[in-house]
Symmetry: C2
């Protein structure tokens, strides 16, 4: 059994969203499971001294155009969010809590629902209430999810996830590591596929 694919993403990352619509099918095609890891780019950028793309002069404007064009090019539904970027602690914590208490599969289903809500249905996923409502749509208890977002153990779990990611060299979203080979960006999925197919590039 080949080792799993590690998929790192921030819920406010548009390229992370694009990648999220493809990563499971790509893994399945080559007999790999996918482990989904929510991270916070804000924490990562503090360590690397990076500025979020949309805030860089010239590059910011281009990036917003590129996201819409890339979604169209790949045939992925996309609606520019009203709030962008936004804080994603709540969504990330809720996901980790679901993973811990209900298993990775349901956590991934929740992550996909969050991404769809944010990048297709224009829902502000920075708000805990909206995150809890999305979770309830998947059968989770609103109160429990709400509590999880404030729970210190869950907060620590997220910190640990992010530290572990950075230790492995993760500095952006999406970021994929498979067999210790790192791929940054949805635009490296062609190379990722070549690697999954041949075990090398």
């Amino acid at each position: 059994m080949p080792s799993p694919i590690d998929f790192y993403f921030d819920f406010t990352s548009p390229y992370g969203y694009l990648a999220s619509t493809r990563i499971d099918a790509l893994g399945a095609q080559y007999g790999r499971s996918v482990r989904w890891h929510p991270i916070l780019l804000g924490v990562v950028f503090k360590a690397t001294g990076c500025t979020p793309l949309p805030q860089v002069p010239l590059k910011g404007e281009y990036t917003m155009h590129d996201i819409v064009r890339s979604a169209r090019f790949h045939g992925i539904p996309y609606q520019e969010p009203r709030e962008f970027p936004l804080a994603t602690q709540a969504a990330a914590r809720a996901m980790l809590w679901i993973a811990r208490h209900h298993g990775a599969e349901r956590a991934v289903a929740f992550a996909k629902a969050v991404y769809q809500a944010y990048f297709v249905d224009s829902i502000d996923i920075g708000k805990i209430d909206n995150v809890a409502h999305l979770a309830s749509g998947l059968g989770f208890d609103v109160g429990e999810v709400n509590d999880a977002c404030h729970n210190n153990v869950v907060k620590e779990m997220l910190k640990t996830e992010i530290e572990a990611a950075m230790t492995r060299g993760v500095f952006g979203s999406p970021f994929v590591i498979v067999d210790d080979e790192p791929f940054w960006g949805f635009d490296r999925f062609a190379q990722l596929e070549a690697f999954l197919k041949d075990g090398k590039i």
Copy 2:
């Protein structure tokens, strides 16, 4: 006759080099000429507040790996330069001088020779002597090219090129603009091709 493709690049940019090996063939395939514009990322980054990729923690190490892998993936010869990155004023000025006095076609041949020297033959193209030597291999006078690199008129030409590029939104290398549609990065060449083919994405 469709309008030409504008191709912006810095001679020290590895992804610019990768793009330089493909842009003319891509243009020709869709009946477009290509106008090559040397720029200096140092000047551009001062305006946008960006740090060169190789100098960013985590991202820098990944990028060096990604360049080698991307060259291999696309079947493009690549040898990591001994000096990287380096100042490219001399090469850019020599190219603009050749374009002015001997035409765009010979300037592009010179640009390709510079890129090949730097990213395949490990020649330090930051040195004026090496730039002049490369030009002499294409039939230009070493002394004239040397003078051109120090000439105030040529210096102004380069400044004007860079300002014009930034006015059009150029913030990186490679950067392509065709029919006012901007494409940043060699990894957008698939989208560039789709645009050249269909006139839209």
